[in-house]
């Protein structure tokens, strides 16, 4: 079995508003998958359910055969779109924190990436810019040896130059067995690293396909396909 994430009839409502409408989706091991869709399409809702931050109204979702819980949290490394770090901590406090709670966290890797980006481990997070905080968070998340990395808008807040470094970091720091689920609407920046795309809109999956197939069949970049599918 190569399945990592499986959704069956997954539905999530906020009051009377349907955020995810009977979604069926399978994500396999060893893939870099783009979760693409306009704002309010249900990307973050899906990501939150995978991370156990939301409970679905109906349907099931499993990661490695487990429903979200302690077991899945051990193997999922999650970068939310929010900065979740304690402002009063220093970078090395946070590294210590991750080391304490995640068995798969590799501090050596984290320190080496910090060094390359010129971030001082004894700096307090309070003194850092938003972009630097995002870099620190990404470094923490990528320093785990997880089965599934979920990156929600990982490059939205950083400048284009840092984007390249970050994407590089993502690709060079995960092992072939792991899967990366990447949500963004900055498609042109990331389409070269994707193996697969999932288009999501109004709580429905519009399209799932390997990037190769899609390019071959349509002869266009993912970015232009996205613009066509989601034309306003």
């Amino acid at each position: 079995m190569n399945t990592l994430v499986e959704c069956k009839d997954l539905t999530k409502m906020y009051g009377t508003k349907t955020a995810l409408d009977h979604i069926n989706l399978t994500l396999e091991k060893g893939r870099i998958i783009g979760l693409l869709g306009p704002n309010g399409s249900g990307k973050t809702t899906l990501i939150k359910i995978i991370n156990g931050l939301l409970t679905p109204n109906s349907g099931t979702l499993t990661v490695s055969g487990m429903t979200p819980g302690v077991g899945t949290k051990k193997i999922v490394s999650y970068l939310p779109e929010r900065t979740y770090l304690n402002e009063w901590m220093k970078v090395n406090d946070i590294i210590e924190f991750f080391k304490t709670f995640y068995e798969d966290f590799n501090p050596t890797k984290a320190y080496s990436m910090l060094g390359k980006l010129g971030i001082n481990p004894t700096d307090k997070l309070k003194t850092m810019s938003k972009g630097t905080k995002e870099k620190v968070q990404l470094i923490l998340v990528m320093s785990r040896k997880a089965d599934l990395y979920i990156l929600d808008e990982p490059i939205a807040g950083v400048d284009p130059a840092a984007r390249d470094y970050i994407l590089n970091t993502i690709i060079s720091n995960y092992d072939e067995e792991a899967t990366i689920l990447l949500s963004t609407h900055l498609i042109s920046d990331i389409e070269n690293i994707l193996d697969e795309v999932v288009f999501i809109q109004n709580g429905h999956i519009r399209l799932t396909s390997s990037v190769e197939d899609l390019r071959e069949k349509q002869g266009k970049s993912i970015d232009s396909i996205f613009r066509e599918v989601f034309k306003c």
């Binding site: 991370n51 156990g52 999650y78 009063w88 709670f101």
Partner: protein, 266 residues
């Protein structure tokens, strides 16, 4: 994992609460020194005496309030602000999260209670007060014996247990209010305050009804005898204790249910 959570929680809270209680300690020692000089008994220094008394009273009250505020803010921020994204994706159970937070909060409340009592005790402790305290103890003991039916060591244990339950249910009332408040999509803090006020009013109503019920068992209020006052205490103390324990349980399970199933992070 529970141990690790306790440690992290302790670290996060003690960076405020440790200095706060150290200040109380320093002020207590300084006050003791000031008192031992006999300076304050001099009529020329009345203003100083009043000033230092006022300062001390404010400090004692502030220490307790700040302790509670820091615990409550920490609970809210670490769970339901952006930090919640990290807290709730740690590989731990909801029970472990809740127990570690309530546990550390409980320990701080105890430290605070003991510090305040000790501080006052240190300042008023001298031969004269010692004598009056010594006189008070048999009276207290006697009262405990009459009301509860046991005294001495058992009585002390009962009082400590009672205080523990009170602290715990106070903490849990805050946690459940915050959990209920975060159900709102906006104004989560306002929601928490409203939830707290709501719960407070419900409990007051139940207590009032309970007191009236107990009162009506004993006799008419107009000519109440000592024995009957005693009887009221004998009923209300155990009943309120059991009531607090049941409430704490309910608060805990509602908090846990919301954290597990109704999490609503922005």
């Amino acid at each position: 994992m529970l141990g690790k959570l306790f440690q992290a929680e302790w670290k996060a809270t003690s960076r405020w609460l440790l200095p706060l209680h150290l200040i109380l300690l320093v002020v207590t020692v300084m006050g003791k020194i000031l008192l031992s000089t006999g300076l304050l008994e001099n009529e020329a220094f009345v203003a100083l005496a009043i000033l230092s008394m006022t300062f001390y009273t404010i400090l004692i009250i502030a220490t307790s309030i700040i302790t509670f505020v820091i615990i409550v803010v920490r609970f809210y921020k670490s769970l339901f602000s952006d930090e919640g994204y990290l807290t709730f994706t740690l590989p731990v159970t909801t029970n472990q999260l809740l127990i570690s937070k309530i546990g550390v909060a409980f320990i701080w409340c105890l430290i605070n209670t003991v510090s305040v009592i000790l501080s006052v005790f240190i300042l008023v402790f001298n031969e004269k007060t010692m004598d009056s305290i010594a006189e008070l103890i048999p009276n207290l003991n006697n009262g405990l014996d009459k009301v509860l039916g046991f005294s001495g060591f058992g009585g002390v244990l009962f009082i400590i247990f009672y205080i523990f339950v009170c602290i715990l249910s106070a903490i849990l009332m805050f946690t459940v209010s915050i959990c209920i408040g975060q159900l709102m999509s906006k104004h989560k803090v306002l929601g928490a305050i409203l939830a707290y006020v709501g719960i407070y009013m419900i409990i007051q109503t139940i207590s009032t009804v309970g007191m009236v019920a107990i009162g009506s068992i004993t006799s008419n209020m107009s000519q109440i005898s000592n024995a009957e006052v005693l009887k009221v205490y004998q009923i209300t103390i155990p009943v309120s204790l059991v009531f607090s324990i049941i409430l704490s349980g309910i608060y805990y399970f509602i908090s846990k249910y919301i954290m597990k199933n109704k999490l609503n992070l922005d």
